[in-house]
Symmetry: C2
Subunit: 344 residues, 2 copies
DNA sequence: GGTGGCAATTTGAACGATCAAATCGCCACG
DNA sequence: CGTGGCGATTTGATCGTTCAAATTGCCACC
């Protein structure tokens, strides 16, 4: 008996209204096969009439699961709204799988690992998505040791062979596609502009460029520029390459930010057209800040999110799903379709 | 009895270890004054030793509260990472107040309002933050009718006098500050470039510009440009204004995107310096995409988030806290400190 | 007509916490 | 020496759900 609470229609209220027991109502919702059709119909009407919705806390308590996925969100840096887009994709994918995304921010006082542990131990979340895995990330072995379910977005660089589950996008493949594209557009001096050595994904993208250049038998030696992510520094780095006696006619870049810098450094010709063709990485809306819009390599974020959620769900529910790495392919979004101006 | 579960140390386990009853352990955590000091110490040691953390679902069930704040996240559009920054501020503020942020995405099949109702009825969240309040937003009266706690970020335009609680930033004030700033830098033809009539915040910002221009006794008639948010269209709109016989020497803009467009339209003089000075709105990192970096009006996001969470908490807990509107002031971040080139 | 089997349904017992009320021990006071 | 009062602690009940086991009703079969 109840229903006296503000907004609380309980399963017992429904049971009373339908003239059955609580468990029958529960069965209608969770195991319809066990219930006689006409009974089920009567119960469904009572549910509808009373506007019954099962209490989440009670379910969570009973089922020992929160159906929440934890995600740490850090102070945003940089111009990209990559996180925005990934967050939306992840939230949608989680929703489709019956989960919610629960955000938390690291606090100044607490030890970061303690925050993760707390969320698991209190049952606030069932597992984590790690979207900011760094090289030799100490969270991974720590989580594994405690059997805390998690899935990485991004390969765990330096511990790829560890027993970790991840989803990543093959950046090297994307860059190779970009080089191939530029080659078909008759470019031969194709530079690479990206992060300095040390970031896993950056190194990989640069390797993809080098591989493609060798495959096409093109020179690569004096065509590498590196700098931190930032338009101004990227422009400087690109300018240094442009001062060469045989300057690049195109840039393949580690990020859209690098690409914007390269485009600015290249400048415009007499007709007001960009002197260098660039391909960025991420296809962020920021890429539209320059005109004409540049080409960029798009990561399949919806697919990434979907796979991440699926794998995490399996690891949360499944007793012992084996670690698994999933590699997805990015796609080149080609936007500069005019002929290159020169062909040295 | 228990503790047999994988990672579940319960309050009874702690009680047994410390040689007291469950309730005493509960009191140590929730009402320490009721417990004798030496008993409390013993219990605390047991908690520490066993690594006890209270189960969130059990607390939620008993206390009829989830300590979660719901936030709808939509597909990102535009270049700004404003949501990123607000999300981080909101997550931090929520965490400091003992809450978590729970994200959800609207699904294609469900009615939007039904999703909100579901989250409340199931007790998944205690209330909502609405960061995307539109004019005559139908959610507001609907929530109020159902006594669903919520706080808006942004005035509920068109229903400011409704019984709603909100936090907003005084955009008109910020714009006026920008105009004052430009006037002290000897500008006289200061244009406004922003959204077409119809967005509450946009209209308000334009009014702020007009008010400041009148206050300074400056002409304003032919200095208004409107367009959607987008660099290319903004540049076009700004160009139209520049073609006037007496073109503007500065732009005050409704967004950073508009401002980037205005700067591009203005172009550079012989010394490579921007011909027009611009002030954007939001101080997004995208503002750094152009060089020299432009001035912009910064919203106090941390303060906004803090107030939003505080008000929501009061409305969730308090029986009947009266509706309240909080207006905060933005701050002009002035970046172009060189003298303007001309003074017509 | 008694019995076994089966489908449909109900009852009892958890899940882990907190509130309210009851109990305990101890001291002071008349 | 009995009683009242008070601080410290314990017991019982409850939040709303689901699992496991028990019960009911019905039909078929020997």
């Amino acid at each position: 008996m109840s229903g006296r609470n503000a907004n609380g229609v309980t399963i017992s209220d429904v049971a009373a209204a339908a003239g059955v027991s609580r468990q029958t109502v529960s069965n209608v919702l969770n195991a319809p096969a066990r219930v006689a059709p006409e009974t089920a119909e009567r119960v469904r009407q009572a549910i509808e009439m009373l506007g019954y919705r099962p209490n989440r806390a009670a379910q969570n308590l009973r089922e020992r699961a929160s159906r929440c996925i934890g995600l740490k969100i850090a102070a945003p840096i940089g111009v990209s709204n990559f996180l925005d887009r990934f967050l939306y994709a992840l939230t949608s994918a989680a929703g489709a799988a019956g989960y919610h995304l629960l955000l938390f921010a690291p606090t100044a006082v607490d030890e970061e690992l303690a925050v993760y542990e707390d969320l698991i131990r209190t049952g606030t979340v069932d597992g984590f998505v790690l979207a900011d895995v760094s090289a030799r990330d100490r969270r991974l072995p720590w989580f594994a040791e405690r059997r805390i379910p998690f899935v990485c977005f991004g390969r765990p660089w330096g511990q790829e062979n560890g027993p970790y589950t991840w989803v990543d996008v093959d950046g090297a493949y994307g860059i190779e596609q970009a080089v191939d594209h530029l080659v078909t557009r008759r470019h031969q001096r194709i530079a690479y502009l990206g992060w300095p050595e040390g970031t896993g994904f950056g190194d990989e993208r640069r390797k993809g460029w080098l591989r493609a250049m060798e495959r096409h038998d093109l020179p690569a030696d004096d065509l590498i520029g590196v700098c931190a992510e930032g338009v101004a520094v990227a422009a400087e780095a690109a300018e240094r390459l442009m001062r060469s006696p045989t300057p690049p006619t195109a840039f393949v870049c580690g990020s859209d930010t690098h690409a914007v810098g390269a485009r600015l450094a290249g400048g415009l010709d007499a007709d007001g057209r960009p002197r260098v063709e660039v391909v960025g990485f991420d296809d962020s809306p920021a890429a539209t800040l320059i005109s004409p819009r540049m080409s960029s390599i798009r990561q399949p974020l919806d697919e990434v999110a979907h796979r991440v959620v699926g794998l995490l769900k399996a690891r949360v529910q499944g007793t012992d799903s084996p670690p698994e790495g999933v590699m997805l392919r990015p796609e080149l979004v080609a936007r500069e379709l005019r002929r290159p101006t020169s062909d040295p």
